[in-house]
């Protein structure tokens, strides 16, 4: 037993030495973990700015002179006439082409208490037009209501009569859950990091070693192929796990730089949550490395291994998004690797009670699949086909 452990230890130590000494490949591998938190901060800053800011909007008025009060009210809300547009933004607002037509008989109808029809013209399918239109809509309604209330007040009517039923909304989502975007992106990043970080190490220690003619020598030694596979698996998944830990710790630091309270949201990664996520993603790191080794060992060359294994990355990038889009999630999705992890991570960020049964189930399925892949690969390395591919 002791001899087996010593042998495995020697194999693992060698894999670690090779993995950590290839500095450039290691940096490349951990790039995702470094860049993702930065990306998160930048994206959330942009989103907050868009949500909080009410940038000036320029509208092409016709008949503005008919309704000076309305124009003033709109100007208070940062909605200006196209005539005042600064030179730099002219082209943009020309293209959005939002036009309001104020009728000639505005003042007359106003005094007579008749309905005045303002016409708002714009391309409503244009995404850039939507927020200005929404704001114009609100501003006009506000203006209209304030006049209406005044009219009733002068007639001695309580304006509260206008609102017999009032809906009071109570948001039961925990405050943490409101900032869905960070959590969704972080969830996807976590899975992608677990999947991609060990990639270059897995390819290098399998297809790379074969191409450097060191695999044959190793296969001739008195060591079982299972130990060889295990050593390579341990080394690649360690790197993947380092990626996950880095990503989580850097994210918890970097979200501090974003003022989420501006949009009424909070997001903090508590230590207990971070530790749970790390442990929860550990089997995932092993599973990912096992997949990569399994594929890379069967390719004919290093180049082929790179492109084939590269395709594997598409899976973790794709699945979380698909799962989060699905409304009716079938039960079995809870059990599968990647989709199961993705849903639980989503739940963790939403602040929903963790479904421990699903955690255990998806972890067990992931571990079982990893073991199956390792055993199959160990068996494959004994086959003549692999040996023949050596030369």
């Amino acid at each position: 037993m002791n001899a087996h452990i010593n042998q495995l230890k020697a194999l693992v130590v060698k894999e670690y030495k090779e993995a950590f000494r290839d500095k450039r490949a290691l940096m490349m591998a951990l790039m995702m973990a470094f860049l993702a938190p930065v990306g998160l901060v930048i994206m959330s800053k942009i989103i907050i700015e868009e949500a909080v800011d009410e940038p000036p909007v320029y509208i092409k008025f016709t008949g503005a002179e008919n309704a000076p009060m309305l124009i003033k009210h709109l100007a208070d809300k940062n909605l200006f006439s196209f005539a005042d547009v600064p030179e730099g933004e002219k082209a943009a607002w020309e293209q959005r082409n939002i036009a309001i037509n104020i009728p000639e008989d505005y003042a007359e109808n106003m005094t007579q208490g008749k309905v005045i029809k303002l016409h708002l013209k714009a391309d409503f399918t244009d995404k850039a037009v939507n927020p200005p239109v929404r704001r114009i809509n609100n501003a006009v309604r506000e203006f209209s209501l304030s006049i209406g209330y005044k009219r009733l007040l002068v007639r001695g009517v309580d304006v509260r009569l206008l609102n017999p039923v009032k809906l009071i909304e109570q948001d039961t989502a925990k405050p943490d859950a409101t900032f869905m975007l960070i959590s969704m992106m972080l969830g996807a990043y976590l899975l992608i990091t677990a999947f991609t970080t060990g990639l270059s190490i897995a390819i290098d220690s399998s297809a790379g070693e074969r191409e450097r003619n060191v695999l044959e020598m190793l296969l001739c030694q008195p060591v079982s192929t299972l130990k060889i596979v295990l050593a390579k698996l341990i080394s690649a998944s360690t790197i993947a796990f380092i990626g996950v830990v880095l990503l989580l710790s850097l994210t918890s630091v970097s979200v501090g730089f974003v003022d989420l309270t501006k949009i009424g949201a909070t997001f903090n990664l508590e230590l207990s949550t971070a530790i749970f996520l790390m442990l929860f993603l550990l089997p995932m790191c092993f599973f990912a490395s096992a997949c990569q080794l399994f594929v890379a060992f069967q390719t004919k060359s290093f180049k082929e291994a790179q492109s084939t294994v590269g395709m594997l990355i598409a899976i973790p990038a794709f699945i979380p998004f698909v799962v989060s889009m699905m409304d009716d999630r079938p039960e079995w999705l809870n059990w599968l690797p990647i989709s199961g992890q993705s849903m639980i991570i989503e739940g963790v960020f939403k602040g929903v009670e963790v479904n421990w049964l699903a955690v255990v189930a998806t972890s067990l399925v992931t571990i079982a699949l990893t073991v199956a892949l390792v055993l199959a690969l160990a068996k494959k390395l004994k086959s003549e086909k692999v040996v023949m591919a050596l030369s």
């Binding site: 042998q7 030495k17 450097r212 060191v214 020598m217 001739c220 030694q221 040996v387």
Partner: protein, 251 residues
Amino acid sequence: MIEVNNLHKSFIDKKDKKQNIKALDGLSFTAKDGEITGILGPNGAGKTTCLRTLYGLLSADQGYATIDGISVTENPLAARAKLGIFPDKFGLYERLTAYEQIDYFASIHGMTGKAKKQAIEQVIIDLELSDLAHRKTVGFSQGQRMKVTLAQSLVHQPQNFVLDEPTRGLDVMSTRILRNHLAKFKAKGHCILFSSHVMQEVAALCDRVIIVAKGKIAAQGTPQELCDLAGEKNLEEAFVKLIGSDEGVAA
């Protein structure tokens, strides 16, 4: 002692699936302890296939191979533990130092602690590797690479030692070191199986020579016996005659 008995091995032709390529066709020989046995054969004679079967990488269709009486098919790990291998194609772990490589293979062979350290230091001194030992092997010359590979296959003092063309790329000094080393091993009663294309070397080193052609033995004996058998003065002429590609004198 290495024993190969009636080995048959054929591969499926990739282009024509029905056509089999016979790599080994009833090859048998014995390499005894305390002897250097040379294995000679033209390219494609089945030498590498034979050696790979011996390492337990390929399984023979028929026949068996044993190392110190252990069958390589039934107990490959135990058989390999008795074997030191210098392969035909070899590479180094370029991110490790020479010392670390030798250490790696020593550990795989189950060596630990002080005994391992002593063995590594001994083999480094024996092969005159001291200057290189703590350098990373990237950028080593062909000769230096061969020495490191030799060191890692010799560090556990294997009872049986298989070398596939060990002297290609070595300079005269290194070749002499290797030769002396092999002679020492032989004197200590180890079994050495040695494949080469350099006839002078085989003639100078080997106690017995096995000539392989088309997957079977074409002739065997001491270098002198082979020369006598072919009626030639030097081994090269005898070899050409015996493999039958020259005048069809094959045994």
